[in-house]
Amino acid sequence: MSTVIYCFRQGISNLKKNLLFSIASTVTISACIFLFCLFYCLVMNVQHIAYNAETTIGISVFFNEGVSMDEKEAFRDEVIEHGGVKEINYKSADEAWEDFKEDYFGEQSEELAEAFADDNPLAHSDSYEIFLNNIENQDSEAKFIRSFDIVREVNYANTVVSALKSLNRIIYAVSVVLIGILFAISVFLISNTINLTAHFRKRENEIMKMIGATNGMIRAPFVIEGTIIGFIGAVIPLGLMYYIYHRAEQSAAAYISRSGALSSLSDIAKLIPFNEIYPKLVLAGTALGVGIGFVVSFVTIRKHLKV
């Protein structure tokens, strides 16, 4: 216990001895972890939105003019028989018009829609909305549905989703490059800080070796120093992210509500809830900071152990 306390004190003392280098290392690692958190949130949220789009929108199937209800029901049965369908709902032309009015005109729907009176602009737009058990099968299912002669149009989220996926790939590539550069700088700076401390403590290390200290005990204060740098370097961006994500979540919700977006769109565009994403950020950020600090200091100090 006494040894652990001693090593810990020495680790903190090392930090104070090279305060400027320690601060530089901490700031760099903070920047690295901040960007990591930021891009992680972006990638996860874009994925989340893409998933929402796929699951919320489903596949809408519209029929040619003049197709009878029996034919439509026969179509439904065949689709169900084909398998993989979680839910299939019929939406009549009137229901479609009611939904549209509500989404676009809101509370004033009756007054604004008065101009259309008895004329349903969405006549012949009765449809089936199909939700699948596995959204990965959307493309093949859409292809299957298109093979029916009675089907006029098949809409699903593939365009939006593929755009979101492309965006995600770009964010991912940019983040990998940026984080990689910052990671390299962090490693360099922490390594330099540890080297500098080792230089200051050269005499002490030599004496320790001659007295019979194990490599572990000589290494411990340096590893503690590196780990503390990594830990503080993680705490700062995680604190920032706590604030930023909360604000982003609130702002996104406020924006959607202000803009009077479609109810289905507001479901899709929701960010991952803070309580769901933040624990992951804390875990990943801390592991990254502490991990970098620990590994870099551990490796750097090795060359100073040969006495």
Partner: protein, 265 residues
């Protein structure tokens, strides 16, 4: 017991620092190792501390070939040794107490042990009154006492002193020698590496003379020089159970058996 059996050490540069040495230092013995610069004294010491490994032959300490020690076993081995350096090697940012306690912390001693042992060592080495002083507030002799206390605190079986009086004046040198003799009388083996002819001649102790990597003489100094005699106030303790001169080296060095003090010739 420390044994050198046909030990040679060749550095990477090709310099042959030790040449086929055979040597034995018994438990509880006090030995001076002397010789010119480059004679191989420090290499000999480093072979004992296992900073270096013999190129040929074996170095046995307590019957164990330390050349075969695994890296991870070296720290435990070194805890049997107490090492005193010419330049004291104290930590300048810590006071006397902390410098001595440092050796205990290194081996993971508890706070209670440290509180008990450090004052005891300070008392033994005569620096109790200065326990709060920083190294730069101490004289050379006092600093070396702190270094000796640090070397002793883990109760090593061997003390290796590398030029312990090299940076000290005559009076401080005498005090340090007396301290090392006292430690030896308590049963600890003491090996002192020194250039100082005066130091070697001041007590009746075994002297190993090295030159060009070989042992050229191994004898027991027989006279007390006047300054140290006055310091001790009486005859220093005699070495028991050893011949006055090792005949093996008589012919080599051509020394006079009677005075036994011509190792630098």
């Amino acid at each position: 017991m420390i044994e050198f059996n046909n030990v040679s050490k060749v550095y990477d540069t090709g310099n042959r620092a030790i040449r086929d040495i055979n040597l034995t230092v018994g438990d509880g013995e006090f030995v001076f190792v002397t010789g010119r610069s480059g004679a191989g004294k420090s290499t000999l010491l480093k072979l004992i501390t296992r900073e270096l490994r013999a190129t040929e032959g074996e170095v046995l300490v307590a019957g164990r070939d330390i050349g075969r020690l695994r890296e991870r076993d070296i720290p435990r081995y070194r805890r049997q040794l107490g090492i005193v350096f010419q330049d004291f090697r104290l930590l300048n940012d810590r006071n006397v107490f902390e410098n001595i306690a440092f050796a205990q912390r290194v081996i993971g001693a508890s706070r209670a042990e440290i509180r008990r042992n450090v004052p005891e060592m300070m008392k033994l080495t005569g620096i109790s009154a200065k326990y709060k002083n920083m190294p730069n507030q101490l004289s050379g002799g006092e600093q070396q006492r702190v270094a000796i206390a640090r070397a002793l605190i883990n109760r090593p079986s061997v003390i290796l002193a590398d030029e312990p009086t090299g940076n000290l004046d005559e009076r401080n040198s005498e005090e340090i020698l007396r301290l090392l003799l006292e430690i030896n009388q308590m049963g600890t083996t003491v090996i002192v590496i020194t250039h100082s002819k005066q130091l070697v001649e001041s007590v009746d102790k075994r002297v190993i003379v090295m030159d060009k990597g070989t042992v050229v003489d191994d004898y027991v100094s027989m006279k007390n020089s006047p300054p140290l005699k006055s310091f001790f106030g009486s005859e220093p303790p005699k070495q028991r159970g050893r011949s006055r001169r090792n005949p093996e080296f008589s012919a080599m060095s051509g020394n006079d058996q009677e005075n036994g003090r011509r190792h630098e010739r």
